[in-house]
């Protein structure tokens, strides 16, 4: 419940709603134009009011910021602009006081080239950290490993004149890969994991996990050694920090991602990447198949695990992952659709993607909150913020949180020119039109609607951990499914969700004879609908409409 944390609940993440937040972009406490940890702490009352269960902080570590902080130059300190370790401890403590947990991004695969480890390693071939990174006399090794950032990187190898050797990097050349074959590196990273958990952090979102190891004759992704190391991290967490969570980012197909759960002994959670673009495609095609198809291809996951699902975050779906024949569907749909091509490969926020259609935004959140997985919200989407494409790929969706219609959107009292990025000021999404203060005052705002939905979802654990079954429906525009959960008191919690992914009103007949006698009660208004009988159950839906029903016994 809001306001308190049940520390005995080690599977809290299966029912939690996550909120991804950029420290830099949320709130500026010291008027220097950049958001900071104290600013975020000051806004915890708002997040408690909204009802989220767990914050996910984008990287806040010491960094030259050449890759949005994913280029870490010291794992044990905070970027001074954001505060210090004490501020981080304070944030965690204040969040816990409000019933909110906190997890942090952690990059294990590589460091910044400014990290002292690399500075030492590059000096010579025989210094104490000489083998902490992956060095080679030539740049010919592991040719099957694809280059991820093809736009900027010609090779996965970069020459280091001081050693007269090449170092390995799966991402930017200023992010050398750590050598996980070195036991010292393995141990050092376990120490990093321990450090923040000791401070009270509730877990990590593990960035770019598929690439930890390299092996000849492979593409260097999803290797057994990588899984082995992740299992070791998990053992440390289970033994020393029970109840903390590991959330893996592996931008792969669900059938491959599922290996990162191990047998329930690796990561607690993994992101489900293809779901969101499929939702977008379903609405665009007015049919449910893009969604139900990917869910049908999603394997079952071990007990105690959970998918992380999202509508938008700072990451993008890349098309490189969809080359195999079984992925033909994705490829033919995306490659041929101009709107998909334009929008999925680049950073857009949710509302601009939906052409500011609140009906679809509500439908998408209703789907996100009721499909299998724990929802991850992205800061600003709860008020319908827009993006600024002219800021470039990554910054366009990282503009300051819009708190008020006042100067600098209420984000900072610094001079406008001092802000890390300008807030949105356009007439549709700008802070004068879209801000927390205005939406808090307006009872019919999207923010209030979303808060109500979060509240309803919290009341029904079936959304987090219930079984999931798609129902047959002849109408292709209707997506209907049933969630079920056996409760401790012996009764079964059953929720029926019916959604219309088309712009027209739609009818549907649902085959619910095995639930005959149950009375569907609409969950927002608590309005009882006619009981289910032996005949198909008839429902009509407005454009982009949806219903959530709990099913009760008659009488």
């Amino acid at each position: 419940m809001p306001g308190s944390i049940d520390w005995g609940d080690s599977r809290w993440y299966q029912r939690a709603i996550f909120y991804e937040v950029s420290v830099r972009g949320f709130a500026d406490s010291n008027s220097d134009g950049t958001g900071d940890l104290r600013g975020l702490t000051d806004k915890l009352d708002y997040l408690e009011w909204l009802g989220v269960d767990c914050l996910w902080l984008l990287p806040f570590y010491q960094s030259p910021l050449r890759d949005g902080g994913y280029d870490i130059s010291d794992f044990f300190s905070v970027l001074p602009a954001y505060g210090d370790v004490k501020d981080a401890a304070q944030l965690i403590e204040e969040a816990h006081r409000r019933g909110i947990r906190v997890i942090a991004d952690l990059v294990m695969n590589h460091t910044s080239d400014q990290h002292p480890w690399f500075q030492e390693s590059r000096q010579s071939r025989d210094n104490p950290r000489a083998d902490w990174y992956v060095w080679s006399d030539d740049d010919q090794g592991w040719p099957d490993a694809r280059i991820i950032f093809v736009d900027t990187e010609p090779s996965n190898w970069t020459y280091e004149p001081m050693r007269e050797q090449y170092y390995w990097h799966r991402f930017f050349h200023h992010q050398p890969d750590l050598n996980f074959d070195n036991p010292e590196v393995q141990e050092a990273m376990v120490d990093v994991v321990r450090f923040w958990l000791d401070l009270g952090m509730d877990g990590y979102r593990l960035d770019a996990v598929p690439y930890l190891y390299e092996r000849d004759g492979t593409n260097g992704e999803n290797l057994n050694e990588t899984h082995g190391y992740l299992k070791r991290i998990r053992q440390t967490v289970d033994a020393e920090f029970p109840g903390r969570v590991l959330l893996a980012e592996a931008n792969q197909w669900p059938t491959e991602v599922v290996h990162y759960f191990g047998e329930g002994d690796e990561c607690h959670m993994c992101f489900h990447f293809p779901l969101m673009p499929r939702m977008f495609m379903a609405v665009r095609r007015s049919q449910r198949y893009p969604i139900t198809e990917i869910l049908a291809q999603t394997p079952d996951i071990p007990d105690g695990c959970q998918w992380g699902i999202f509508l938008r975050n700072h990451d993008e779906l890349t098309l490189e992952m969809v080359t195999d024949e079984e992925r033909d569907y994705m490829y033919s749909e995306y490659a041929t659709d101009p709107l998909m091509r334009r929008n999925i490969g680049i950073s857009r926020r949710l509302f601009p993607l939906l052409e500011n259609d609140r009906r679809i935004a509500e439908l998408f959140h209703a789907l996100l909150f009721s499909m299998p997985g724990s929802p991850v919200l992205y800061y600003g989407d709860e008020i319908g913020m827009g993006d600024n494409l002219y800021l470039g790929d990554r910054d366009g969706v990282r503009t300051p949180m819009q708190w008020t219609p006042d100067r600098n959107a209420g984000f900072s009292r610094a001079d406008f020119a001092q802000l890390y990025l300008p807030p949105l000021m356009d007439p549709v999404y700008g802070y004068q039109a879209v801000n927390v203060e205005g939406e808090t005052r307006n009872p019919s705002s999207f923010l209030h609607w979303l808060r109500r939905m979060i509240e309803i979802r919290r009341q029904h654990p079936v959304f987090g951990i219930g079984t999931f079954e798609v129902l047959s429906a002849e109408n292709p525009s209707v997506l209907a499914y049933i969630r079920r959960l056996a409760m401790d008191d012996g009764h079964e919690s059953i929720v029926l969700c019916v959604s219309n992914v088309s712009r027209f009103a739609q009818p549907v007949e649902l085959m619910l004879a095995d639930l005959a006698g149950k009375v569907p009660v609409e969950m927002i208004g608590r309005v009882p609908f006619p009981p289910i009988g032996e005949l198909p159950y008839f429902v009509t839906l407005p454009p982009y409409g949806f219903y959530w029903f709990t099913l009760h016994d008659e009488g």
Binding site: R285, T336, V470
Partner: protein
Amino acid sequence: MTSPDEIVSLLPDYLPRQRWYGAADLELVSVDVAAFDMVRPEWPMLGWLLVDAAFGDGSTATFQLPVGLRPLEQTERFLEGKGRSFLGDIDTESGPALVYDALVDPDLAVALMRHIAPDEEVSRVRSLNVEQSNTSVVYDERLIMKLFRRVAEGPNPDVEMTEALAAQGFEHISAPVAAWRRDGRDLAVVRQFLEGGTVGWQLALTSLRDVYESRADPSEAGGNFAPEAGRLGRITAEMHLALARAFGTEEGDPDGWATTMRQNLARSRARALDAKVIDAVYDELGGVKDPGRSMRIHGDYHLGQTMRTDKGWYILDFEGEPAVPLAERRSTSSPIRDVAGMLRSFHYAAEVALVERGPASEEDELRTLGRRWEQYVAEAFCLEYFNTPGIEELTPAVDEDRKRVLEAFVLSKAVYEVGYELAHRPDWAHIPLEAVNRLTT
């Protein structure tokens, strides 16, 4: 009950009321029992009859009738509003009984399934009320039983074809789980029910509604159907390759095809058609050097015979055109004929979605859009179909020959449709007439 005579006396009144009767315009001269069986002798009883009907024009038909019997004084909820399914009442050794179509009775539908497929445990029953010539019942949303109403000697093509396709490893059909045969006749078939499925026709209309509403070019519209059509094209080619492996092929016979087309033209009795210009298109078949192969094909291929599921497209109902005699339905033709059927279906979908919208001031603009949708979708279907490896062995390899064969089959299908629409739905005749016009000018 040992004799079905009393039941038979009810049939002259009962049969013509059934949707699957299919002889409404003919006089029913006689009905005789060809076979009778008491599947379940205790209440509720389940009887099974095969009856021969003779009609005024000398033709005959054999109908299959599973009948249920329950004590007359009992009222059952499932019988409410099912007047069409009542045969009447008769006296039995156990007292007076109401006789009705057994498939509307959940208990007897389960009993029949147990009889046909003893290994399948089923409990919940739902009947589908959509078909003309068969009756289908869904069990537990898991299995579907199709009971053939008009039965004939020899294998039913729907059973024969799907069994053969399954044996070839073709996965885009619902393979028979059990088939009920008696004296060389196929009586019923049980398959997996395709869960979560939507008929292709509905999916096409969903796309068109979006196109017409948004006025966007079909390639840019949200409801773009081309990728689906492309996948369907590939599955169609794979179906033909599997059929070729299963039943073999022979040298294509363009002259024979043209002859059949001319016969159909004569049969259509449509005065609205100019036989001379149509013949000219058929004549083009004579110049085809490489016609491809002649083989067993689907025979009644259109969007209504396809189903989109979470596992991709499925192809349904291999019975062939119901109005055609069985022997003819099992004859061979060019696989291009199925392609033509699908292309005609795209045209119908575009027009029907237009009719749905009612009269509109911008109808011409929308019709242009619909025409564009049809072309765009047909291109996507054909591109994938003809690019499927192996299909060049079955179809004309030269573009020019392929075009001639395809056009002739599309035209022949449209000619058939003109005859059908003029007889049954004159308001719709403009659809195939437009197509005939298009192909002959």
